[in-house]
Symmetry: C2
Subunit: 234 residues, 2 copies
């Protein structure tokens, strides 16, 4: 049976990290909310559901319903052939994924430093200040760590000899940052050539390249995590 992915239908969102894994594995899946938002809202709000997710995205695999993008990927990794066999490797990949997720949250909060319930325009002053620190301090710190662990693994992949979902997620993080902070990210990639090469090599993988030009790949926009507000790029 096809996996069912549930995420907000008009943005890439955190579901994009899951989508890239499903696409790379050529797995059968349905992006449910894109044609039936009510089905997703029902699962988020159904008071009879014993194990609802706090938020989208979440995945249904037959009887299993699982939320939190990093947990979804930990679950899918072995099923999609996107992790090695050893338990220690799988935990290391998960640890990397959670660190990617931390940076995703920080990137999000550059345009929403005060409250997710407010519009960007209502917190723009604070956003300008937060984005400056993010560009100057956090992008270099996170990128240096990614560069280091890439280099220590030989440079082609984050873990082991083959692609894992962490490589795909790191591609998405860099891609989003290139959209949101093109100048700051290009400068940081110049200092971290291994990371730049990984972003490029994932982008050129046949299934990923085909996905990126398909209608299933929504463009970055000003509702999602990674938003292009030129004033935040300094």
């Amino acid at each position: 049976m096809a996996y069912e992915l549930f995420d907000w239908p008009t943005i890439q969102g955190r579901g994009e990290f899951v989508r890239l894994a499903l696409e790379e594995a050529a797995a059968a899946y349905t992006d449910v909310a894109r044609h039936d938002l009510g089905a997703m809202m029902g699962l988020l709000e159904d008071p009879a559901l014993a194990r609802p997710s706090f938020a989208a995205p979440f995945l249904r695999d037959g009887e299993v319903l699982i939320g939190q993008s990093a947990a979804i990927l930990f679950y899918l990794g072995p099923r999609l052939g996107l992790v090695p066999e050893r338990e220690a490797d799988r935990f290391w990949i998960h640890q990397i994924q959670l660190t990617i997720a931390d940076m995703v949250s920080e990137a999000h909060d550059t345009h929403h430093p005060i409250a997710i319930g407010l519009a960007y325009e209502e917190q723009k002053t604070e956003a300008l200040r937060r984005a400056g620190h993010f560009r100057r301090d956090r992008i270099p710190e996170f990128f240096a760590w990614f560069e280091h662990i890439l280099a220590r693994n030989g440079g082609r992949h984050l873990v082991g000899e083959a692609i894992t979902y962490a490589d795909l997620s790191l591609f998405q993080l860099v891609d989003g940052l290139l959209c949101a902070f093109p100048m700051a990210t290009a400068a940081a990639l110049a200092d971290n050539p291994g990371l730049r090469a990984l972003h490029e090599s994932v982008r050129q993988r046949p299934r990923i390249a085909a996905y990126l030009v398909s209608l299933r790949r929504l463009p970055f926009n000003e509702q999602g995590i990674f938003r292009r507000y030129p004033e935040l790029d300094g």
Copy 2:
């Protein structure tokens, strides 16, 4: 061999979620950085280390080095007898843990909405604004979800019939919020009696109660995640 936990030595930090699990299981462990901070800094900064953590806390179990508190607990859960057997249950507990971690990050950012590299006093104006939204919107939203999943499982535990590390972590989250936002948290607990009862029942577990009055339990302070700044409680 004893587990070795590495975390900042003067605060509870995110290591506290791991510490509570180790204490409840009466596991042998060393809180390394409390007597040897250099050992922790060495592991964070050693350029020869192939799999360094981006940040503390992390855990060493023989050959395995693992960071990110939620990943550490996913790893320790079966080893400490703090999760059921079924894979679906273990993923559900992990999903809850990641949602707890999301709320922990939001609680942290109430006093650091702009940059972790700045002092609270340098971002106090923004903190006042963020804390207001956190109190009014986010505490009720997260608490309602915890209350719902507790009730759907019978009220005594989050998952299954016995204590899991998610119950311990939820205790710690509520405990930290009671320190940081005593008025707002008390009001929210009055609306969510199951959550209040869980906090109390974990606090009274013999090993947890003994731990909480031991010297190993550091007090909340103004360097940690949960800080008592009265002005942020409205």
